[in-house]
Amino acid sequence: MWGYVVRRTLQMIPTVLGVILITFVLFNVVGGSPAAMTLGRHVSPRMLEEFDELRGFNKPLIFGWWTGTRAWDAAAFRRGGMHWPGAAAADGGGQRMAPGEYELRTAFELLPETVYRWDISFMEGGGAEVEFFCRGDVVPAGRTSEWRRVDGEWRRVLWRGGRSAGRAKVTVRVGAEPAGVLAGLRVRKASVMIRDIRLARRMEHPWDSQFIFYLRQLFPLELVHGAGGGWRLAWKGVDFGVSYATNQRVSRMLRDGIIPSLTLTVPIFFIGLMSGISLALVCAYFRDTWIDRFFVVFSVALMSINYLVWIVAGQYLLGYRLGWFPVWGYESWRYLLLPVLVGVISGLGVDIRFYRTIMLDEMYKDYVRTALAKGVGGAGILFRHVLKNAMIPVVTNTVIAIPFLYTGSLLLESFFGIPGLGYIGVNAVNSSDVDVLRAVVFIGAVLYVVANLLTDICYALVDPRVKIR
């Protein structure tokens, strides 16, 4: 048995990795940094950069030496938003720059002791000569032979007439005092058309990426230099980062949300299960009579009513009109009555149908005929022989439904004002709170994987036919 459990646990690993990959692709690759979306449009690039820094969005995706930085607004340059005298926005992006000196002013100080790269694309240079310069605590990096040191600044000619298009990359290293660092372009002889200027930051390590950042959040295993010398592995506790919207640690928010969620979903789960199974038994007992047919129609009708309608109708009719239940809030157990009722009713249709199918499947098995031939009565057949066999699919399907305890009440919680995980999740969607949402999705998926494991173990325990190999 233990060997089986261990093996099944190991089989979970690829799925968990898959979940990590999918959440990563969804939130990091497709979604990208939500900084602008969450912080709003009128926020300084420095704040955006800090937002990204905290969440690792300013790193390369999976592997790479270079990563973008918000210190230089490339989009503004392409739009012609730099407002340089002597430069004008060109059709199709970029700027036409007359002879003169242009400062490439960054939105905020560059990081000290860091290598940066300017990437400049030219078009139709004509006879122009373009020179890059930088001043302050900065030294050239890369091919230093092309650089000259003149008047306390480093200069490098990027472009001299004769070519039609191209790009130049300039790599510099910012020293310990980034405050006075300034870079710029000098255009001489004729005007030049510059399509694009980008700034990239060099990572100290190519694996210092968003993916690894995410993994280290989930598996915070670190080599620590122990007190008695030597190294040991330390587990720092899973960290889902900080919620932007509430400024709390996500793990803390989730921990606070578990209890309200459980107080809502556990009653729904058990009451729903009991009523579903009992009504299914009623159907099975009265199969092929009008009672059974009524419940079949009834369950399909229940299934067809949208969840929202249950919530709205419950709040309006039972809460507001009849005044039986409080409508909104989480103060005492009375506040749970209505959401539990709505939760049970909205799930009842599916449950009855499902359990009825299971029961009827069993009713027509050969062992039922054997039991009948032995002289077992109708109730004995149903409650002893059929129910015990039906418990196998029922138990496995019940265990697999456990993760729905976690998110099944997404809507209920947010519309009845119960501060559980579902409430947190819906709020996170509304406020584009990526950290929270990613954590909620991830935990939900992991719970499902664990429930799958439990299902298999339960299956092995309940069904004597399953061989544990």
Binding site: P14, M303, S304, N306, L308, V426, Y448
Partner: protein, 328 residues
């Protein structure tokens, strides 16, 4: 086998003819089919209205704000055949006037004086768009991956099973909401959110069916003829498992509609168009003031289409393949 026994068998029919015959015998299924047809017509009418006003660059009636007519109850509750202004009319005139009044906002108006019936019809259009587009995303993914996994087995199968079991792990509604959030609010988010999660169940079913069919003699025969793998999969096996697609489509269509309603209700779905979810969301607050008809119209519209599709899906499943049992 000789002639007598051949005679005693039912006339030979294709699977589809047989299924249609069985379906036709069920009165309830035929009623559902008619209801679905009615909704389809409404959706098509809605589409025409939408494009007509768009091409003429006018505000469509379902968006036209008319504060003078706000909160009008459905016309049949406004005693169309009586009232003050009809006092001096002949009975025929009164009847005609009544008819006209009946046709004026038959389902009443909302808080901005917009016609509820027109909005419900537009909601039908959106619901159909969502159902169809999400199916167009989910069905090809599910069918192709399912066929490949089932037919080739081995590494391909391992990979695809891994892929869909990973997708299946992620809590459904939350996943959809997350996709929609990442893609951005609006219909595109709804399409992608629902479409990219809905293929999982279909893929699993198709894979199972293809595995069963892979061993059948007709596939062996096709292979012996030297047909290519893809020809065998898509020309020989797929038509035999296509009923799974039909049934899944019918049962998933209402699911997509319901999810769209929830997403629009939460404010991350349809923007600026009268979807059923938005109608419910608006009507929810007005309900407190006794304006029930907007709510009633939207919920009844949803209930009707979902019920019709659910019942039709069940009947289709029984007709096409009794082995596909009701599952979660």
């Amino acid at each position: 086998m000789n002639t007598e026994s051949v005679e005693s068998l039912p006339e030979s029919m294709t699977l589809w003819q047989d299924a249609w015959r069985r379906l036709r015998r069920r009165r309830l299924a035929m009623v559902c089919l008619a209801v679905v047809g009615l909704y389809t017509l409404a959706a098509m009418y809605g589409e025409c209205v939408y494009w007509w006003y768009r091409l003429h660059d006018e505000t469509p009636p379902y968006k036209r704000v008319n504060l003078a007519e706000q909160y009008q109850p459905p016309s049949f509750l406004r005693s169309p055949f009586g009232g003050r202004e009809t006092g001096r009319m002949s009975s025929l005139e009164r009847f005609l006037h009544g008819l006209k009044a009946l046709g004026h906002h038959p389902l009443g108006t909302d808080g901005l004086g917009r016609d509820v019936l027109q909005r419900v019809i537009q909601g039908t259009r959106i619901a159909y768009q969502v159902g169809i587009v999400t199916s167009l995303i989910a069905i090809p993914i599910g069918v192709v991956l399912g066929c490949l996994a089932g037919y080739f087995g081995g590494r391909v199968d391992d990979f695809i099973v891994w892929l869909y079991s990973t997708f299946a792990c992620i809590p459904g509604l939350l996943f959809i909401l997350a996709i929609a959030m990442v893609v951005g609010k609006g219909l595109l988010g709804v399409y992608l959110g629902i479409g990219l999660t809905m293929w999982v169940g279909l893929c699993r079913l198709i894979r199972g069916e293809v595995i069963k069919h892979k061993e059948r003699p007709y596939v062996t025969a096709a292979r012996a003829l030297g047909l290519g793998h893809f020809r065998i999969i898509f020309r020989h096996i797929l038509p035999n498992v296509f009923h799974v697609v039909i049934v899944t489509f019918t049962l998933r269509f209402p699911y997509a509609i319901g999810t769209e309603v929830i997403m629009s209700f939460l404010g991350i779905g349809v923007q600026g168009e009268p979807s059923w979810g938005i109608m419910i969301s608006n009507a929810r607050l007005r309900l407190w003031h006794g304006v029930w008809w907007e709510m009633a119209a939207a919920t009844a519209a949803i209930f009707g289409i979902v019920l019709a599709f659910n019942l039709l899906g069940d009947a289709l499943r029984d007709a096409l393949d009794p082995r596909l049992r009701t599952g979660r």
